[in-house]
Symmetry: C2
Subunit: 376 residues, 2 copies
């Protein structure tokens, strides 16, 4: 059943008025969307990005250029509508949900009443993973559930396309550690400058990532993705992984934002391979290790705009491209319907009389030349 | 004056709530747009793509996979609303103009009355440039004027952002020849498979491109861009170049589509360097030589989606990204307005009390921890 729709969508795409394959990535994206929705006319009219926030204990090691408090301050900025993700989501007609998965902040009551805010903090920030596991196994399951809940809400609300993004000072360090654990990157290849640290902090960040592995026991029965999420992850990263795990069950397409969201995807892929089918990687981040991580995961992102902000900003820019791909499959004319010659020039140098346009008045006549009336 | 606005826009961008540079290419695009519009709040609300069509005499050499008649048939498809450019322009709220700059077709009267169609054919197709110059110098000037006219119309209509795209079976051959002449590419590097030719046609296409140079006399007093446009160009390519030349005078930003539009840009840059300031290159085409041509022109495209259709489809996908960049500069909060700490963590570990949010109720309080009410 699944394969049939993909094959039919591929065939439908090849009958459109364009050389086969000439719309590049749009074509393969459209076929994947048709397959996921089991519909030759995939629709992506309702879009939402879930921005998960979490505080990271590992910031105590001096791995970030910004103080840990910025995580909570940025959540307020998201809810005031002034952050980059707000601007880009409004631009593309994308709804946003802000989820506190574990931020060290007290929220005023007025905030807790906001419809787009979800106060689901597992704890007020992870433990410092350089010293001890970031969270307990139970907390990790709770964080995964925070993400799963958003998929159920999305399905209830008729969302066609979900995005995942995050905010968490220190979380590039956690993401780098996950790439070391799950994608086989070396610490020095997996670590970048995050929000913009200097050389000394970069060396420290590499030490911190490498150190986490010296201390940690190898995992046993559970999937590596689950084990490392609790040892070096973050509450917002686990929540993003939970979103992917639940979306895979429902075959709901999800746009993965940048470096940190990709780390969540690496964990989710390890736990359940079906997550691969639903993920669309929005962009290659300016964070240097992201390219290597995407390569290790054998995925190709849509954009490469040197962005490295997170928040779901890359997902917000990529979503309209997915929507465009779906519309190509739905709305574009075929060679038959438009009366356009499809045959190679060596075989046919005049229009095929059997091909017709929908409107016979709009056919190319083969009458006498006449002077263009528009010349000046 | 010009430099001042760019510097102010750069400064404004750096006060936004994000690490400096973290929005990558969006930031530099926004600064360029502010500079072009001489406005710290650049607006791109009205967008239009001009799709120029032309027939190419060089198709007689067997360089294309499609018969020459497809050019006219696709113009009809554009006007019926069923082509890829129609779908993508509708998706992004972009108006389109279809301009016959020199198509070998007779248009029914009903077509000539369409507001979005401009019948400006210089001639019913170029001459075969493998045998003789594609057009006369006078015709080349006429074709440039066809493009200039569209800029004047765009300015009258209050268009903020213009795009250029094209349709013309055989025009990858003309574009390749222009890249050889103007960017110093070797014929075998400048030629690709276009709409999808086989190995034999590819070898022929290289011969045809190389052959045009053996026959042609070197240019004398006029700019090389102008000379080669008439010798190996196309009416739609010259019209696109005319659009850029006129837009440069008005400092109107123009999004350049793909391989063939880039050849028009190469000619325009050679004729008037100011064209560089207004051009935004939408994407790196799947046509293999495009990357080399962009490199030779020292420009970086926004997208890389392996598209190679033309019609302005790449421009249509890139325009919303330019619009997003402008909105970032206009709408995003600053560190001051949002009350977000900007200082490095080594210097400041608690929020700066001097920083305030616009809404005092939405500040992060530093009171006692409390249990999240959202836990399950």
């Amino acid at each position: 059943m699944k394969t049939d729709i993909a094959a039919l969508a591929f065939d439908k795409m090849n009958r459109k008025t364009k050389p086969p394959g000439s719309l590049g990535v749009l074509e393969s994206v459209a076929v994947r969307l048709a397959d996921l929705q089991q519909n030759l006319e995939p629709k992506l009219s309702k879009k939402r990005i879930c921005v998960y926030a979490g505080t990271h204990g590992v910031t105590a090691e001096g791995v970030s250029a910004y103080p840990s408090e910025v995580t909570g301050q940025m959540v307020l900025n998201f809810l005031s509508g002034g952050a980059a993700i707000n601007v880009l989501a409004r631009h593309a007609g994308i709804d946003i949900h802000i989820i506190d998965a574990g931020v060290d902040a007290d929220w005023p009551d007025i905030l807790l009443k906001q419809r787009q805010f979800f106060y689901r903090a597992v704890r007020r920030g992870t433990s410092n993973f350089f010293q001890e596991p970031a969270m307990t196994r139970v907390e990790c399951e709770q964080a995964l559930d925070v993400g799963r809940e958003q998929v159920r809400a999305a399905l209830r609300d008729g969302i066609d396309l979900l995005g995942i993004g995050e905010m968490g000072i220190g979380n590039t360090t956690a993401a780098s550690a996950l790439f070391v654990a799950l994608c086989g990157l070396m610490p020095e290849d997996a670590v970048g400058r995050g929000t913009g640290i200097d050389d000394a902090s970069l060396r420290r960040k590499i030490e911190v990532v490498a150190g986490a592995f010296e201390r940690s026991a190898p995992h046993c029965s559970e999937p590596a993705g689950l084990y490392w999420l609790h040892v070096v992850g973050g509450f917002e990263i686990a929540a993003m992984a939970g979103t992917l795990l639940e979306a895979a069950k429902a075959r709901l397409p999800v746009v993965v934002d940048g470096f940190i969201a990709t780390a969540a995807a690496a964990a989710a892929f390890n736990i359940d391979q079906r997550c691969r089918d639903i993920c669309f990687f929005s962009h290659r981040s300016g964070e240097q290790a992201h390219g290597k991580a995407l390569e290790a995961l054998k995925v190709e992102p849509l954009l490469d705009l040197k962005m490295r902000l997170g928040e779901g900003t890359g997902a917000a820019l990529a979503m309209p491209i997915l929507e465009a791909a779906a519309k190509i499959l739905c709305e574009m004319a075929t060679f038959e319907s438009a009366g356009v010659s499809q045959t190679l020039s060596s075989e046919l140098r005049t229009p095929n009389p059997k091909l017709r346009t929908p409107n016979p008045e709009l056919r190319t006549p083969n009458s006498e030349p006449r002077t263009p009336n528009g010349e000046r």
